[in-house]
């Protein structure tokens, strides 16, 4: 126990020392967050500090935990989200109240950047004009309107149900639809209204208009930067200076620019009045691809190795049945049913893990375990009783029986399990990008957000090729590792 504590403390101290070098900036996986991350990075670099970006992390909880644990030093969020989702105190109204609560966690908050990115109801300009719809109040008189709302908006406390109640909208013409697909639905006239973020570039792009929230139902989602109070003073200063420099119109324009050019860094350059930026495309595709692929192989490889080292012995124990055996198999199966994002979220608060490559490897390791454990157990259990008996009758001890007879005979099944794990790991490793651990998931996630198929494919095709190569590699390994007598 004491040793564990020492290691944990060691990890914390090291982690801290590393974080003190470049200022690490996080972002969530939607356009505006990516752009604000790039803007923060440039601002801090202008102040003479090194920066590093962990872009597209999977959701508020993950970025917040990363900030708290020191894995990142700052990221952009919204006052409404901070009060409701992070602090869980929706009645915190003023910025100072929020700031005081955050200080208890060692976190600071800048003054607002100057825009409010709240929810909004949007519809096509021509429809709005034809039906004289200007504000949410006007909806009361049009029960025939069809709503296509995101699932999150349907569930949120500041979402559809309370909104309809407040405004007295009695329609039942409502269905849940994906955010991106909803825009297509509007365009084709399959739905009339949907929810959106007020600074969403797609509003202007698709010639949509926002209905006025006459009763001020939607909470304020004013953009701010959150930062660690122990971050370098120059970095905090640089973030503070960004306050009040971005109004809604400007942010919407930057979002649009980022989506048009598929390049967040370029949008950030525009913010700094450098319309013809060249610095952004510095890294060539091949160098990016190499970086992603190497990291991907590192994640999948290390986790697979660990899964083999742990999974085979566990499989041997499981093959002997009994309580321990069923407990091991039950554990491995249960792990497999937990959604991957949930595993990441569960691991992140633990000491030693946090937002790091270690967490991604640990999650992949857990996923890789089941096929190896199960196949090892099955392979050993399916050895003919006569062979088992012959080995005992020869007078071989348990160790010799295991290593010279049972494991070699079960080798085909065990290798099949390892192969399954390897292919699963290559696929699942794309999730590492959600916690900023890199790999081929990086372009996939950013492409999903941009709805840009090219970017998605930049990650998806290499990942698929990698999975095939791994499959072939293991097929070749079968020939080397499975004894010839078993392949006849």
């Amino acid at each position: 126990m004491k040793r564990l504590l020492v290691i944990t403390l060691g990890g914390l101290i090291c982690g801290h020392a590393v974080a003190a070098k470049p200022v690490v900036i996080g972002s969530k996986k939607f356009t505006e967050s990516y752009v604000l991350g790039e803007i923060a990075s440039r601002a801090i670099r202008r102040a003479g500090l090194e920066t590093e970006i962990r872009a597209g992390m999977g959701g508020t909880i993950i970025v917040w935990e990363a900030l708290r644990s020191g894995a990142i030093s700052c990221y952009a969020d919204y006052t409404g989200t901070i009060a409701e989702e992070i602090l869980k105190q929706p009645n915190l109204k003023s910025e100072d109240e929020i700031r005081a609560e955050l200080a208890k966690f060692g976190i600071g908050m800048t003054a607002e950047l100057g825009f409010n990115n709240t929810y909004a109801l949007v519809l096509r300009r021509d429809v709005a004009e034809r039906m004289h719809l200007r504000s949410i109040n006007d909806l009361k008189n049009h029960p025939e309107l069809r709503f296509g709302l995101t699932h999150e908006f349907l569930d949120r406390k500041d979402g559809w149900r309370p909104l309809a109640e407040r405004y007295g909208i009695g329609t039942t013409n409502v269905r849940g639809i994906d955010h991106g697909l909803g825009y297509d639905g509007l365009k084709r006239g399959e739905i009339d209204l949907k929810d959106a973020y007020s600074t969403d570039a797609k509003i202007a792009e698709n010639e949509l208009v926002t209905l006025v929230d006459d009763q001020r139902f939607f909470p304020q989602y004013k953009a701010v930067f959150l930062y660690r109070l122990d971050a370098p003073a120059a970095a905090i200063d640089a973030l503070q200076q960004l306050s009040g420099t971005l109004n809604e119109e400007r942010m919407t324009k930057l979002n649009a620019e980022a989506e048009r050019t598929k390049n967040y860094a370029h949008a950030a350059d525009i913010y700094f009045h450098n319309e013809n930026s060249t610095s952004t495309a510095a890294e060539s595709f091949s160098s990016r691809l190499t970086r992603w692929t190497l990291r991907h192989l590192q994640l999948a490889g290390i986790s697979l190795l660990l899964a083999i080292l742990v999974g085979v012995p566990l499989g041997i124990v499981a093959s002997r049945g009994g309580f321990a055996g069923s407990a091991i198999l039950a554990f491995a199966s249960t792990v497999q049913t937990i959604p991957s994002l949930a595993i990441l979220a569960l691991l992140i608060p633990l000491p030693f893990f946090g937002i790091s490559v270690r967490t991604a490897i640990a999650a992949l390791f857990l996923y890789g375990l089941l096929p190896i454990v199960r196949n090892t157990a099955t392979g050993l259990q399916s050895i003919a009783p006569s062979i088992r008996e012959s080995a005992i009758a020869l007078g071989l001890n348990g160790r010799a029986r295991l290593f010279q007879i049972e494991l070699p005979i079960a080798s085909r099944t065990i290798l099949a399990g390892i192969k399954t794990s390897a292919v699963i790991n290559i696929g699942t490793a794309t999730l590492a990008a959600l916690i900023g651990a890199g790999g081929l998931g990086e372009p996939i996630i950013s492409g999903l957000n941009l709805n840009d198929h090219r970017t998605i494919l930049e990650g998806a095709i290499p990942a698929a090729i990698l999975a095939l190569l791994v499959q072939w590699f293991f097929d070749g390994l079968d020939r080397v590792l499975i004894p010839r007598g078993l392949r006849l």
Binding site: I387, E389, I392, A400
Partner: protein, 214 residues
Amino acid sequence: MLIGPSGCGKSTLLRLIIRILSPDSGRVLFDGMEVTATNVAALRHRTGYVIQDGGLFPHLTARENVLLLPRHLGRTPAEMELRIGELCALTRFPEAAMNRYPAELSGGQRQRVSLMRALVLAPELLLLDEPLGALDPLVRIALQRDLKEIFTRLQQTTILVTHDLAEAAYLADEIVLMKEGRVVQKGTLSDLRDHPAEPFVTEFIEAQRSLTFA
């Protein structure tokens, strides 16, 4: 020679001797010494065991199967090669085929290899559990003949389990008839036929005869 109907406990008795099963009650004596969990490993090295389907290890060649135990016990290669030569001659197995895997051998050949593996350390006791049970009649007769010759040459204690009375009569010095886990009668075939200890003995012999000539 242990004989008796299926399920009478013949194979179980063999398994008890080398403690693949441990007895619920009673003791097994080997050369006057009780077989226990601690001395069984050494006793197993002094015993050879062959089962119906041979129990050869499929991932090892015939040679590796035979030499697994001597190798494990650190015998020298020269010593082992010599032994292989002797055993191939004894069991009439072509030495060239020793590098084949079990899957590449016929059923009869597999049983010969299995016998070699059992004999490699020159055990004091040979246990054969229906060694010919899975073979077709012609191969079976050839192997019966060879077994008889081997038994005569080796002159060692052998316990063979079979349910075939003709085989027992041909190979055995003494037949032990079992039923439902107990010994019914011991003796030669004529002892059993002429002086049955109980009606079951005659019944068993008659059943076998009708089976043979049906």
